[in-house]
Amino acid sequence: MEILPILSALRRNKVGATLVALQIALTLAVVANALSIIQNHWSNMRRPSGMDEENIFTLQNHWVGQPENLRASIEADMAALRGIPGVVDAAATNAYPLLGGGMGWRISTKPDMRDGPSASTTLYLQTAHGLDAMGLKLLGGRWFRAAEIGEWGMNLKASPSAVLTLALASKLFPTGNPLGQVIYLVGIDSPVQVIGVVDRAQAAAPAPAFGDPRTEYSTFLPFQFVNNGLAYVVRTRPGQLLAAMRATPDRLSRITRQRVIDLLGPFSETRTRAYRIQKAESRLLGAVVGLLLAITAFGTLGLTMYWVSQRRRHIGLRRALGARRADILRYFHSENLLIAGTGVLLGVAGGLGANLWMAAHLGTARMSPAYIGTGAVMVLVLSQLAVIWPAFRAASIPASLAARGL
């Protein structure tokens, strides 16, 4: 590489070179941060809920006018759903992962949150059928038995036992076995025994855009939620979801037509609903990244074309003095590498700085070095691609041009 001639040529074109370097630096900073945010959204959208998602459909049921015996109506609906061919189990609950809303509560290992570790958790009221209906993975201990299930009407009650997610159990009991330990729901001072731990169950509220460990802090309590307005969770055998889901409205209205069934659909629809904003944002950012790279590439192309046209006689002279076409090509590619490399160095610094600032002020995730690395390579390759045509044009300048000017 003939660094010195390039440098001395650049000295005569400081502004142009600075502009390209600056543009590349800015592009890299924006692209790396945007990629990191897109990746963050994607990992949120794909975070497993802990349920057997492939085989679950859900619906919201609301009876028109309060039924005489709410609990009996719920049981009748559940029996009907479990009778549909292909259904593994069904449960009526206050909420399920990603539904949105949900019951939030503070729990602690000590009454009144004194001194002990505490956490904000989503409360899921579940019956003995809950484990099978949601398809959760029990890591230790046991699930609720039918005899333990209480009734939860409008308001909170003392609970004898609870099943926690692994994430919550490790937060509350960082050392030692959570099984058999006692937790307290704030405001209700009676002890709740931890009888089981499930691998994973996401909170009812979708993961917020930027890191929140509470996303998997969920607590199951042994209650039938007795309320007009319930979420039904139905799990089917593989491959039978659609058939069972289509049979559901008819089967339920055979019990009574006095009801509104809302949001009947496979769990994937719940997921889509929960993350629609993050998805839209990812698309917008993706489009921005693509356009930005295109703009930078074309900008580099345009400016290099101009430099070539400025230096036609200089190039002709070099050709006349014995430079081969490959030398001219190499000259322009090297020059571009030098400028873009400077831009990349600036961009790495700027991108990391911007990321740190956003992490401190806006709570975004810290960007992994992989993104800035990927971005740097992308920008370098792109700008090399952008000079192919101008360099080719430069290389085809005839040596005779030099003679003409003299």
Binding site: Q23, V64, G65, S120, I188, V260, I277, A287, L303
Partner: protein, 439 residues
């Protein structure tokens, strides 16, 4: 003279089509991306009720005490953002503001005779709500004070629900049956959907639709629960228990027209909290807060951080496009330095050259702005499609109105103008003789 420059500019633009297209595309795409994100940001952080945002106030009372805000507990460090039922009723009865309304969101299934039931969301509130928030009425009027005190079953319908229930004609005077009973329609409002829905911090501030309004007292009497309940102790075991509990679930807004009224209301709130402490309800120094709409949106953190981040990225994007434009413009003017030198030699001043370059720049800016406008519209359609904004009245979030359009053009021309300054200055300063010699 400027007509001549304009003519020259067009000729120059046509002279090097590839470069011209490139510059215009760079400016247009930059503007388009930036304005798309910016429009969403504006819609999200806009003042939902500009005429009165400084006169509407939400009170907060420290009903849970400092223990609930213990920093180590990682609990919400703010005062509760809603009121208990008891406090809301006390504030209503005190009538210390010009207008005031307690409220909470409810849902009901409407039962039109002989048709499918319609689940819908609405609001239980007081009649001052309508005047206070400037809700436009299509027909009828808010219910009367007597309706409120007599707990009459009256209802105000939203525009869409009214059209659905009574497609034939005026709904006022008709009866609507829902789960809670039969209600007489006293008014129908025009489509009304302030963005963000600042008055209710529970649930989403942007996907709310008030389809009907009931008197607060009637909703309480019918035991229609709200969707939201925030507690630091047991909410009791029945409806009466809930009304007595320290759970917060009622929103409250007061209209205070001037600084004196605000001072007086603040004093009233402090006195109220002090009374509560004297009566033994609060075991801690009383603490209250009174915020107007703008302060309230800050407290509630209504604009999500993601949107700010997107705006930052979009700004970075615009910057790249502008740097790009500066470079290309520089190339463009420098490539024509010979022509400028001839004009200078024929007597044009440096200012003339500079002006000629700037006219050309402005033209590029205008064209880029037009492209940017189209791209913004496209971007917003894309946003709308992915967000499932189906109904016309919730599309305000991503709506391209004339003010945004004007702003886009101004930003485009202003930005290219800035980008053109240095290249034009350079072009105007290039020496005559040297350039001519090169010809």
């Amino acid at each position: 003279m400027s007509g001549y420059y304009f003519h020259l500019a067009i000729r120059c633009l046509r002279g090097n089509v590839a470069l011209t297209v490139l510059i215009i595309a760079a400016v247009g795409v930059g503007i388009g991306a930036t304005m798309t994100v910016f429009t969403v940001l504006l819609a999200l952080s806009g003042d939902p009720i500009p005429a009165k945002s400084s006169q509407l106030f939400a009170p907060q009372i420290d009903v849970w005490g400092p223990a609930a805000r213990r920093p180590g507990a990682n609990a919400d460090p703010r005062l509760p953002d809603m009121l208990t039922y008891g406090d809301a009723v006390a504030l209503m009865q005190a009538h210390a503001a010009t207008r005031q309304a307690a409220m909470y969101g409810i849902s009901q299934i409407i039962l039109p005779p002989g048709r499918e039931p319609i689940p819908s969301g609405g609001r239980a509130t007081y009649r001052d709500f309508f005047a206070m928030f400037q809700v436009p009425f299509h027909s009828g009027a808010p219910w009367s004070a007597q309706d409120e005190t007599a707990h009459r079953n009256v209802i105000v319908l939203g525009a869409k629900l009214a059209a659905k229930l009574f497609p034939a004609g005026d709904a006022v005077g008709q009866e609507v049956t829902m789960e809670a009973g039969a209600f007489r329609v006293v008014g129908v409002i025009e489509p009304w959907n302030p963005q963000p829905a600042f008055y209710d911090p529970s649930g989403s501030a942007f996907f709310r639709n008030e389809e009907f309004f009931l008197p607060f007292t009637v909703a309480i009497e019918h035991r229609i629960p709200g969707g939201w309940l925030s507690c630091h102790s047991s909410p009791g075991s029945d409806w009466a228990g809930r009304l007595k509990s320290s759970c917060v679930w009622i929103q409250f807004w007061a209209e205070l027209p001037d600084a004196a009224a605000v001072r007086a209301y603040r004093q009233y709130l402090s006195n109220y909290a002090a009374d509560q402490r004297r009566s033994g309800r609060f075991g801690w120094p009383p603490s209250v807060q009174l915020s107007n709409v703008r302060q309230w949106l800050q407290i509630e953190h209504v604009v999500p951080d993601e949107v700010r981040i997107n705006a930052l990225l979009a700004l970075g994007f615009l910057l790249v496009c502008l740097v790009n434009a500066v470079g290309l413009m520089l190339a463009r003017f420098a490539g024509r330095s010979g022509a400028y030198a001839i004009r200078r030699a024929l007597g044009a001043s440096r200012l003339d050259i500079f002006l000629q370059c700037m006219v050309e720049t402005a033209l590029v800016g205008a064209l880029g702005g037009g492209l940017g406008l189209m791209l913004t519209a496209l971007g917003l359609i894309g946003q709308r499609a992915t967000l499932h904004y189906t109904s016309a009245d919730s599309s305000r979030l991503t709506h391209l109105d004339t003010s945004i359009m004007t702003l886009t053009l101004i930003v485009a021309i202003g930005a290219t103008f800035l980008a053109g300054l240095y290249p034009a200055w350079r072009a105007a300063r290039s020496p005559i003789g040297w350039q001519l010699k090169e010809q």
